[in-house]
């Protein structure tokens, strides 16, 4: 038996290659940083190569493989590979690659001087943690990878240490984060006590076969949802978001708002779907939350989703700092995506996946343009953007397109994303939720257009001329074209998302 388990672990490593590539990148970066501190392009180049190699290996590992690292009956594995995790890993890699590209032209990062090496090292450990989060099926590995992601992001948020607000942001982030993960851990321990195992599939098995008191289960579920809700900045746990997003270097804000949110959603969907589904039910719609049937889970999540998007949108109305406004808008977007989670059947999950894929391009694009302008202007205040549309027409128009797409107006991709999400809601008879979602989008129109109005409809006398350079132009275009293209030709994303809703075991 002993030999057998080692054999299985060694075999499993063949399917673990994308993660191994990230680990290797981590160590190579750490070593290279030691010897070639001065070189500006070496470290980003190495991390880019690492991420691309990892993506290559990801594409060439098999589609579905369960029971990785399993050792006999009591432990049926810690890790799975399925189309669902593949989708999120691709999303995370894209976000990471864009972040590295952004960092190359970011003033904040380049001024960090000798510590730039650690920045790239931590980005790779961040990516590794998110990779593990998307396909773990064991509560222990889930907690550890959750902490790996969190710890890396705490440091990255406080990275530009000499900027005071960055250190403050970091402190806020770690206090909230540590409390949230402590609460989640308590939930995990209750769940372990109820079932005697940490594997999600085995937990499902025990929960559906034994008659378990529902109150502790509800408490455990709430605590776990709360812990993950912190990561995706769900409503009662969103307090850290604006401060951290404003205080962190803008490249990190961008990656936090896309990649770490994606990993959080992947974890939320996978863990709750596996744990609380009733396999014996015939109707997919009713089986979703079946084990917790005494408690109206989807109504609770629906309420939280409404709270999240409304709070995010209403608070965004009053912001004068563009970065802070985008932070609130990202809270609101988390709320929209949570509505898809309410349904939790394939339609709902597919809508979330489509939304995320499009959100990646439009949100990263908005952050990138804001970063370019802020580096030049030295300010993120909306007032300073007055008349910018005429001084820097390309950036102005791109920012406008990204913001319009975030609102969800056709012909941009944001419209397609919202269409599928609200369509899925209506199909599942959650019409009031869809109506609230649409109303919220209308509110968001106001603050997004306020920026546009400032840039184009008001005269100003500021001196501003922007020489973008070819690199930045290309990066902007590579984000702009998908945002426009997917608004008209969205079939490939739909197909990709359709294939990716398959979670192992379903």
């Amino acid at each position: 038996m002993e030999n057998n388990s080692i054999q299985n672990i060694l075999e499993s490593l063949n399917y673990f290659t994308p993660e191994l590539a990230l680990m290797l990148t981590f160590f190579v970066l750490l070593l290279v940083d030691l010897f070639f501190r001065k070189s500006k392009y070496l470290l980003p180049a190495i991390s880019l190569v690492g991420f691309i190699v990892s993506g290559y290996l990801l594409v060439y590992t098999p589609d579905v493989k369960g029971f990785l690292f399993s050792t006999g009956m009591t432990n049926i594995g810690l890790y799975v590979i399925d189309p669902f995790s593949f989708f999120f890993k691709i999303l995370i890699l894209l976000a990471m690659i864009y972040t590295i590209l952004f960092s190359l032209s970011s003033k904040e990062i380049n001024e960090a001087g000798g510590n730039r090496g650690e920045y790239y090292v931590l980005l790779s450990s961040f990516a590794l943690g998110m990779f593990l989060l998307t396909s773990t099926i064991d509560l222990l590995l889930m907690y550890l990878s959750f902490e790996l992601v969190s710890l890396s992001s705490y440091i990255l948020a406080g990275f530009t240490r000499n900027v005071k607000r960055s250190a403050e942001a970091s402190l806020k982030y770690i206090i909230f984060g540590a409390v949230a993960s402590g609460a989640m851990l308590y939930g995990i321990s209750i769940l372990y006590g109820l079932t005697g195992t940490t594997n999600l599939y085995l937990i499902n098995f025990y929960l559906s076969n034994q008659n378990i008191e529902s109150l502790p289960l509800v408490i455990a579920g709430l605590l776990i949802i709360g812990g993950i809700g912190f990561k995706i900045s769900m409503a009662p746990f969103h307090f850290w978001t604006p401060d951290v997003y404003e205080g962190a270097p803008i490249t990190i804000t961008a990656v936090l708002s896309v990649a770490s949110k994606a990993a959080g959603f992947a974890l939320l969907i996978r863990s709750l779907k596996i744990m609380f589904i009733d396999y014996t039910a015939t109707n997919l719609q009713s089986s979703a939350w079946a084990i917790l049937s005494q408690f109206k889970w989807n109504e609770l999540i629906a309420g939280l989703a409404v709270l999240t998007m409304t709070l995010g949108n209403l608070a965004a109305l009053w912001q004068s700092n563009l970065k802070r406004m985008l932070a609130y808008s990202s809270i609101a977007h988390a709320g929209y995506m949570l509505t898809g989670f309410v349904i939790l059947d394939n339609q709902g999950i597919m809508a979330i996946l489509i939304y995320f894929f499009i959100y990646l391009f439009m949100n990263l694009g908005a952050f990138f343009v804001v970063m370019l302008i802020a580096d030049k202007l030295g300010s993120e205040e909306m007032e300073d953007y007055t008349g910018l549309g005429y001084k820097a027409p390309f950036l102005g128009v791109s920012l406008t397109i990204f913001l319009i797409s975030l609102t969800g107006i056709p012909p941009t991709a944001g419209f397609v994303a919202k269409l599928y999400l609200f369509g899925a809601l209506i199909k599942a008879k959650w019409i009031w939720l869809a109506v609230i979602g649409v109303l919220n989008s209308v509110i968001s129109l106001y603050y997004y257009l306020k920026v546009v109005k400032n840039m184009f409809l008001r005269e100003s006398e500021i001196e501003y001329s922007h020489n973008l350079g070819h690199g930045n132009l290309l990066i902007t275009l590579s984000l702009l074209i998908p945002t426009l293209l997917f608004g008209i030709y969205f079939k490939p994303i739909i197909e990709f998302a359709e294939q990716s809703v398959r979670i192992f075991g379903f």
Partner: protein, 100 residues
């Protein structure tokens, strides 16, 4: 022999005390200590379940929680030092932690 429920109540009490501490105290170092209190309450729950099941995986979990707690404390204290150099305070009220 002591029934399981006494251990669970005790650890729930420790956990709650930790949460009260996090909510009431303003000194960042003490907040971190209260977080350690919460994590230890969880550890007590895990160890007691593990012993009552006669299964080691709960104790393995505690082992990992300890490692993570060490890393988290190191990061947290490093952030506190960085902040203190900038601001000469570690009172979270002056950091405006609950600012909207």
């Amino acid at each position: 022999m002591i029934p399981l429920k006494y251990y669970l109540i005790l650890s729930a009490a420790f956990f709650s005390i930790g949460i009260i501490g996090v909510l009431t105290r303003r000194n960042a170092i003490i907040i971190f200590m209260c977080i350690e209190l919460m994590l230890n309450a969880v550890n007590l729950t895990l160890v007691s379940f593990s012993s009552f099941f006669g299964d080691s995986s709960g104790q393995i979990f505690v082992f990992f929680v300890m490692a993570v707690a060490a890393a988290e404390a190191a990061v947290g204290l490093a952030i506190i030092i960085a902040l203190f150099r900038n601001k000469l305070t570690i009172n979270v009220d002056e950091v405006n932690i609950f600012k909207w």
